[in-house]
Each structure stands twice: as structure tokens, then as C-alpha cells.
């Protein structure tokens, strides 16, 4: 009786390379696809035990359609994006519990009183542009550093979202918000109390979301990765 032909460890390594070659950059997505391909190849071997590994692999890959792994990767990014925002929201909510609610109130008061100072919006806008530039420089430096690491290391999709893309929420979003206010030519000195309160609330919320995405999440990266990927701890 023939023993069932199995994908060897070397072949698994080859499959990892194969997924990377087909634009799957992240280890978490690669792993799942590798296991899938390996299972399918073994299934193909049940019928054609003599078929070379490469041929069986190509047969299996064909089943993913003309776009190959692209669809899976794209949708995975979307799903992870959703997850990122859920995590972000979890930490933002913490700002409304004791003792952090005190800092939240302070940020609110700061905005609220600043808005009442003449030309406050220009002061704020100027400060944010400087901050944004600093943030962008740091961002670019990190990116360069990561590029060097890129080839050798396993990369995780969520890790990249926490570190590089911040789920698409960059400091520029922040600057844009103030830019819009600026363009609307709102004179804060003449605005009634509740409008000031609303703008101060928005400013506070944006500040917190920005702080959580730029500082809190990167600090908690390891914990979050372990939570999201059971395989992260197995390395």
C-alpha cells in the first residue's frame, strides 16, 4: 500500500517564498495560504502521486483565479483595518474613565479657552503644522529603518498598521480638520457657547484618537499582536 505523500518541510519553506513572490507580504496571511496550498497539494497527490511538487503547486495556485492571492490580501487588509479601528476605539474609550477623564477634561478646557482668544485658530493651526512636520519626519525615518528589516523578518499586517499606516489616520487628517475650520473663516470670538463647546469636543476627541494611534498603540504593540495572532507567541 502506498504511503500518503506529504509536503516536506523544505517544500513548506518553498511555499512561503512562493506566496511572497506573489505579493503576499505579511506572515499571518502567508501562513494560512501556505497551509491551504499544502493541503491541496497533498489532495492532488492522492490522485497523482508521481506529480512533481512544482506542478502540483501550480495546479493548486490556479484555483485562486486570475488574480491569484490579490483578492485574499486585499480583503484581509480591509478586515484588519476594521479590527485596528476597533482596537483604537477600545483605547480611546479608556480616556473617558477615571483617572484619564481628568486629562480629557483638561484638553477640552484648553481648546475651549483657546478658541476664545482672538486669532486662536491661527495659533492652533501653526502649532499643528509644526507638529505634523515633526511627525512626518519621524514617520519617514521609521519607514526607512523598516525597509532594511523588511527582507529578513516576518512581518505582521497588524504590526504594520500600528507602526506605519496607523490605519490611515495620520497627522494630516488632523491638520485637514483645522484647515477646514480655517477655510470656513469662522470667527470663534463671535460664536455662541454651544458651538465653541462642540468644536472643543471635536478637537479633544481628535487629540485623543491621535495620541492613542501614535503613542499608546505602538507602545502596546506586542500585547496586541499576541492577542490577535495566536501564532505570534509560537515563534
Amino acid at each position: 500500500m502506498n504511503k500518503k505523500r506529504q509536503v516536506t518541510e523544505e517544500e513548506v519553506t518553498e511555499l512561503y517564498l512562493f506566496t511572497r513572490k506573489h505579493f503576499v507580504e505579511h506572515y499571518d496571511v502567508q501562513s494560512e495560504l501556505v497551509d491551504h496550498l499544502a493541503n491541496d497539494i497533498e489532495q492532488i497527490w492522492l490522485e497523482h502521486p508521481q506529480l512533481p511538487f512544482d506542478k502540483a503547486r501550480d495546479l493548486s495556485f490556479k484555483k485562486f483565479g486570475v488574480f491569484g492571492f490579490m483578492d485574499v490580501v486585499e480583503k484581509k487588509q480591509k478586515a484588519m483595518h476594521k479590527k485596528y479601528w476597533k482596537i483604537l476605539w477600545r483605547f480611546v474609550k479608556e480616556w473617558f474613565t477615571l483617572p484619564k477623564i481628568i486629562s480629557t477634561a483638561l484638553i477640552f478646557m484648553l481648546y475651549f479657552s483657546l478658541f476664545q482668544v482672538p486669532y486662536s485658530i491661527h495659533i492652533l493651526f501653526g502649532a499643528f503644522v509644526v507638529w505634523a512636520l515633526y511627525d512626518l519626519i519621524r514617520f519617514a525615518q521609521n519607514r526607512r529603518k523598516n525597509k532594511v528589516k523588511k527582507q529578513a523578518e516576518k512581518r505582521w499586517l497588524l504590526q504594520d498598521m500600528i507602526g506605519e499606516t496607523r490605519g490611515g489616520f495620520s497627522f494630516l487628517t488632523f491638520v485637514n480638520f483645522f484647515n477646514i475650520i480655517n477655510l470656513l473663516k469662522i470667527d470663534f470670538g463671535t460664536l455662541p457657547f454651544y458651538w465653541l463647546a462642540l468644536f472643543a469636543t471635536l478637537g479633544t476627541l481628535l487629540t485623543i484618537v491621535f495620541y492613542v494611534s501614535a503613542v499608546v498603540l505602538p507602545q502596546k504593540a506586542t500585547q496586541l499582536l499576541e492577542e490577535t495572532y495566536p501564532e505570534y507567541k509560537m515563534q
Binding site: V12, H36, G65, V72, P230
Partner: protein
């Protein structure tokens, strides 16, 4: 092989139902199980299965467990508590859908 498009909208319900019957399953196992249960009628494509699984996971309906097999990582999916609840609702919706289709496709021409 039937028209695969007709099954497309039901993929999530199919996955949830399968997982409700077993403790945990991995992607490839799901495709094989569906093939077996439908005697080859429904062939879930790889390009559709994983996006559906990842979406259900991101929505909190599924959770994952990973087992190491040699240097292969096998990712198992199982229902979360929320997923179990959702399955009941989705199956009820599906039954309703099937009844409606039945009425539309083969209306009973009776006098009562």
C-alpha cells in the same frame, strides 16, 4: 455543478452553520466538507472563502486558534459567543429566504 453565483450571498451562513456543528475547522477543511456535503455541487473558491472568514473574524463572530504542524501553521476558526447567537438569526433568515423563493419559483396552484 450548479450556478455558483446563486450560492455566493449565502457563503457566510454556510460557514457559520458548519462551525456550529463542529468545534473548530480550518479553511481547507471547510472547502472539502462543503464539497462532500453537497456531493460536489458547491465548490467554494479559495478567493471567496478566506475573505469571508477574515470578515467574520473581524466582526467578532469567529475566533482563531493556531496549531503548529511541522513548520506549517494551521489556523482553526471557531464560533465566538456572539457568533453562536448570530448563527441562529442567519439560519432563520435563510429558511425564510428559501420559503420565499419556493413560493416564487414553484407557486402552488391550489384552490384553497
Amino acid at each position: 455543478m450548479g450556478n455558483q453565483k446563486l450560492y455566493k450571498g449565502s457563503l457566510q451562513t454556510i460557514i457559520l452553520k458548519l462551525l456550529a456543528n463542529t468545534d473548530k475547522m480550518y479553511g481547507y477543511e471547510i472547502t472539502q466538507k462543503v464539497k462532500e456535503l453537497t456531493q460536489g455541487e458547491l465548490n467554494i473558491t479559495e478567493g471567496a472563502l478566506y475573505p469571508a472568514l477574515h470578515k467574520l473574524e473581524a466582526d467578532g463572530l469567529l475566533e482563531v486558534e493556531v496549531a503548529k504542524i511541522g513548520n506549517r501553521m494551521r489556523k482553526y476558526y471557531k464560533l465566538t459567543e456572539q457568533g453562536t447567537k448570530e448563527t441562529v438569526g442567519k439560519l432563520a433568515e435563510m429558511q425564510e429566504f428559501l420559503r420565499t423563493m419556493e413560493r416564487l419559483v414553484s407557486p402552488k396552484l391550489s384552490l384553497d
